[in-house]
Amino acid sequence: MLKRLYAFFEVRLGINDILEQNLTKYLLPRNVNIWYTLGAVLLTLFVLQFVTGILLLVYYVTDPVEAYQSVERIMNEIPYGWLIRYLHAVGSNVIVIALLLHMLSVLFMGSYKKPRELTWVSGFILFNLAFALCLTGYLLPWSQLSFWATTVATEAAGAVPVIGDALVRFLRGGAMVGDATLGRFFALHVMVLPAGLAALIGFHLFCVRRIGISRPPFGDGYRPAEVKGYFEHEAHPGGIPFFPNYAIKDVAVISFFLGALVLLVFFAPGLFIPPSAFEPADPFTTPEHIKPEWYFLWAYQTLKIFPSEFLGLMAQGAIMTVLALLPFLDRGSERRPVRRPIFVTCYLLGIMLFVAISIWGHYS
């Protein structure tokens, strides 16, 4: 029966050909390294977020009065609700870690360079969409932590000259974080942003597949590829087949990340979910130490370092703009790190600055 069904689709869609072209006959560079697996890791984690998010939606109630209770119910009454919520909440942090590693590896290997500008830009937008998903999802449990973290985060928009106050009101749907904020954050978190994310992931993968995987810029035989003035798929004749040779490495790293996620969920969820996440939101009681999530600490501290919040926002905007447009600014064809000392120095200093400012933000 299955064979006949398969034959039906094979005749009409040419499944064997699709599988061959994308799996066994899809050749990757022989020296492709472990960092290339992070895309598959992220795809797996996004799917996990999607599945756990839908399961949470079944019981979550979008109402300031009932939101916290519904999450408490998920955690305590719904079978495995705690597991689903933890996988979703802790998983989002693991995604941020994987995203950072993915972006840093692409930067180090210069894989963003021509002709892969669109792959980079779509990836960078995905990176920001993931942060937007984190921010909007943070408010939904309507806990003391989520309420005040969102208050602080949206307050920052007030530093924009002229339209700052209007922007804050627009983000919150009113003067204060309230039911209007919850409503719009919910709509963004479960519909708008995931739809945008899915579309962009599709485009990102299309770009990767269409232009071809970039060759790691290491080894004696490596020479920068000549980029022509017309489209050319970068093939790797004599390379290794994606399936099974490289796919098994994807499986290995995905399993490792999932193992780490499970360890965090079962043994140390408190690393990402502090006790104030288990207190219902109280707009009349400001907690003593309100700090954003670890991945926003750099932005939080940047706003404090500069003499005005506006300058801080400008600095953040400048950094993000440079990163977004990097392939158009760094136009040389050389990708070997040893031959890009200025870039590598900036790269390392940038990482150290990010870590140092984040730690400063944590203890400030």
Binding site: E72, V152, P244, A252, F284, K304, E309, F310
Partner: protein, 271 residues
């Protein structure tokens, strides 16, 4: 700097909002603002109150003394229910508006019976503005000996200490579970109720009565403890399962890497 300024604006807005509501939070009441700036006996209660169990639980001046905590002009007006300072003999009634069971128990005691002759009332042991948390430590040689011999008080202290320790242990355990997202409201309610009932027993200063009730309290406490233990068991079980699942995933990762190595050798051999 702007974040701090933003916060200040927010806090000012909150303050105004709170003052406009009838349930003004303790920190924002006009009582504290006005008396906080006074010296001597009119200002001292503010500093004392801040260290009290009442402050810890959000019980503010107007909750005991009445009045309007949102209106400077009418804060101490009898029209707004201001009661002022109660007479010495009226203190049990004053405190007993909230601590009903304790008051009933106290009035049966030698302390309560002798109140018109200067018998100890609530604030003699618990203090007034720096109201101390009810604890066996309040029964001590230094304080009790101010009025009478310590012997009987010591017996009472011994009789209540075990139950008090058990209650404190339950409260700590429940606090830890709450921080892990476990729904403990029912257990907290039962513990709170148990503590209240316990407090209703020993203000008569009747050692036999306390001893006869202790087994009942211990039984109720152990029932709550069993529920806490069941939660701990489940948490341990979760960790065990999580450890196994994580271990299997890491094992899968290692096996996949080993398979990849065999492919790598094949690829190198083909070169």
């Amino acid at each position: 700097m702007m974040v701090v300024r933003g916060f200040r604006h927010l806090l000012v807005f909150m303050t105004v909002l709170l003052l406009l509501t009838s349930q003004a939070a303790a920190e924002e009441s006009v009582c504290l603002q006005c008396h906080g700036g006074l010296e001597g006996r009119l200002g001292a209660p503010v500093a004392e109150w801040r260290t009290s169990i009442h402050a810890e639980n959000g019980i503010s001046c107007h909750d005991c003394h009445g009045g309007d905590p949102t209106d400077f002009a009418m804060a101490m007006s009898p029209e707004r229910g201001f009661l002022g300072v109660p007479e010495y003999e009226a203190v049990p009634e004053f405190c007993g508006r909230c601590h009903i069971g304790v008051k009933e128990d106290y009035l049966l005691s030698a302390h309560g019976q002798a109140i018109n002759q200067g018998g100890a009332q609530c604030v003699v042991c618990h203090d007034n503005h720096k109201v101390k948390k009810a604890s066996p430590d309040l029964i001590n040689h230094q304080d009790c000996s101010r009025c009478h011999e310590y012997g009987r008080a010591d017996e009472i202290k011994a009789a209540v200490s075990d139950t008090d320790r058990m209650l404190a242990g339950l409260e700590i355990d429940l606090g830890i579970l709450a921080k892990q997202g476990i729904a403990v409201k029912k257990m907290e309610g039962a513990t709170f109720s148990l503590r209240n009932d316990f407090h209703r027993v020993f203000h008569t200063v009747d050692v036999d009565k306390v001893r006869s009730e202790t087994s009942n309290f211990q039984q109720r406490g152990s029932e709550i403890q069993q529920q806490i233990d069941a939660v701990h068991d489940e948490l341990s079980q979760r960790k065990l399962i999580g450890g196994v699942v994580a271990g299997l995933l890491f094992l899968a990762s290692i096996i996949a890497f080993l398979i990849r190595n065999t492919y790598q050798k094949e690829e190198d051999a083909k070169r």
